[in-house]
């Protein structure tokens, strides 16, 4: 059932509806490790380059 679907962020397990409670979700994402956040940042850089049309975005090396 969709309502019971669990979503894992790092060590946290959230229910789908909790993920969409924006403030809660933001606070949860804020608790990710520095390393995990940098990995997400690199994904965001790739998204900006490949989908956002920002061809000059520099993708960090980790």
């Amino acid at each position: 059932m969709e309502g019971e679907q669990k979503i894992i962020i790092g060590e946290k397990v959230l229910r789908r509806r909790e993920l969409f409670e924006e403030e809660v979700a933001r606070r949860e994402r804020a608790k990710l490790s520095f390393e995990e956040k940098i990995k997400i940042l690199i994904d965001l850089q790739k998204l900006a380059r490949d989908w956002g049309g920002k061809k000059d975005v520099i993708i960090w090396q980790i």
Binding site: E23, R26, A30, K37, L41, L44, Q45, I58
Partner: protein, 172 residues
Amino acid sequence: MKETLKVLNKLKEKGLVQDYAIGGAIAALRWIEPFFTQDLDVFILLKDGDEKKKEVIDLSPIYEYLKSKGYKWKGHWIMIEGVPVDIFPADPLEKEAIEQAQEVEYEGIKTKVIVPEYLIALFLRAGRNKDCRKIEMLLEQCQIDKERLQKILSQYGLDEKFKEFEERGYGR
């Protein structure tokens, strides 16, 4: 990123900088949810101290060292191990922010990151829309020591600016 931090630590070991701390968006990202940014802002304390009193601040030895290691300019950034880095000599507020920065580890490499209270003061002083958004996220997503923040804002004459920021109800 790990290799970039090793190079920054090397600057300290070699005595080219007295101390440094990560600031700007990447420091904010340490405390709040991930968001898009491109560069790594690094605030440095130079060996011989009080930058404020000098008419000219010479960062050449740092850049010469980095150049000798093969790191090149890309626009206004210096590319260190694939990461675009901006290096800023600290003014008094940034100096205090470096001294009070938190030691953290990134993949086993020690570094220092400016704490939220100082970041808020620095973003407030910069005052662009993107800085205000970061202040808002810091206030919303992490534990702020209100007393400490107030002290910093008063000390650096940012009280009024913060009041204006609050009155605007930014983002609400």
